[in-house]
Symmetry: C2
Subunit: 224 residues, 2 copies
């Protein structure tokens, strides 16, 4: 008997529901570890198969290719953040408070209590930061978008834009600001680690509170 939660994702992302079998969960678990460790480009199904003592062919029964596996993981993350936001803002009326909680959830998503045993949220967050934009920067973006492969992210952006709109209905670009909170958070965590001359943020030992502060500073000035 399992006590884990099950996140439901677009069925087009996988060939066979990976959450339903040991092998499937192993694919999810170790793909996260390996992509975080070695990067998406050098990650492949052969290496993953070796890692989990399975075979390439078996993994291909779950996911068409590594790009769709990445999309699956990113959708997982977006759903996870949505979930965090919804439980953390439950019963919060003030939209300003709500947005603060949203910002906190974005930045600290990986540090919240893990929901699922086989998903390391912290490493998944690293993948989102380092590889996230590769999900939609492809020639197939329109086709994949029409299949709903970015729905989780779009829904998330929409819900954040609603809160922005509540705070200041005259603000002209609620969606731009919403997506920018995500992009800025990820970008500047990445920049702080790898291209520090591109940011004012500094991060030591994964302490990302500076990023939270920065996002709140932007929000305050933009929505004042």
């Amino acid at each position: 008997m399992s006590i884990g939660i099950k996140i439901s994702l677009n069925e087009g992302l996988y060939l066979k529901e990976p959450q339903d079998s040991k092998l499937g969960r192993n694919i999810i678990k170790h793909s996260i570890l390996m992509i975080d460790e070695c990067g998406f480009e050098s990650f492949n199904f052969k290496k993953l198969a070796q890692e989990i003592n399975s075979t390439e062919a078996s993994i291909y029964r779950y996911f068409e290719n590594k790009h769709l596996l990445l999309l699956y993981l990113l959708n997982w993350y977006w759903e996870w953040v949505s979930y965090l936001i919804s439980i953390n803002t439950m019963n919060v009326e003030d939209p300003k408070k709500k947005l603060k909680i949203i910002v906190h959830s974005i930045v600290f998503a990986s540090k919240e209590n893990p929901g699922v045993e086989y998903v390391n949220e912290s490493k998944l967050h690293n993948i989102v930061i380092s590889e996230g934009m590769k999900a939609y920067h492809t020639k197939e973006v329109d086709e994949e978008n029409s299949k709903g492969f970015f729905k989780s992210y779009k829904d998330l952006a929409k819900s954040v834009s609603h809160v922005i709109n509540e705070i200041n209905p005259k603000f002209k670009y609620p969606f731009v600001l919403a997506t920018n909170l995500f992009e800025m958070s990820n970008n500047h965590i990445y920049f702080a680690k790898h291209l520090p001359k591109l940011t004012d943020i500094s991060i030591q030992e994964d302490q990302v509170e500076e990023v939270e502060e920065m996002l709140n500073y932007f929000v305050e000035r933009l929505l004042a």
Copy 2:
């Protein structure tokens, strides 16, 4: 005798200066066209060789691999934008005006008078929008950064951050805002085309003035 300008780029980016030979210039010219057309992933040196009636081996004498060619092109773009900004802001004193010109240069870089015959600035801009972030989202980012492969972008960000600082010395995140102007511009042009639910911007027929307006709106509120 040539009347073209020559942009000087980090020597580590290429094996042999491509600007100095017909073949080299052809590589630059047609790689831009092909990457814009088919995307970076499906682009390769074999196809490029066929396109320009040369051979794979010949292209490899100029660039170690396609990733370094992409970096070369992006550095070209960053240098080009820097150049535009410096000539357009020359003799402009007011930092607020300067930043408006910078924003305009970022958004309309591709529409300015072309500087070099063999570089289609407009398609190069498309590449920056669609593939730009792939330049630094790799496992080799630190090594490449230490070789100076991102210097053009960092210098550009720095010069913009100076102007921001002139406008409002109390603004806490000049580098974040500077890089964000670039990232937002690229992201939302891309979103408007491919993931419209992630943005408030709409673009018809490559009319990007809405993006310029949006960036100015953000700047005004942030630096007020």
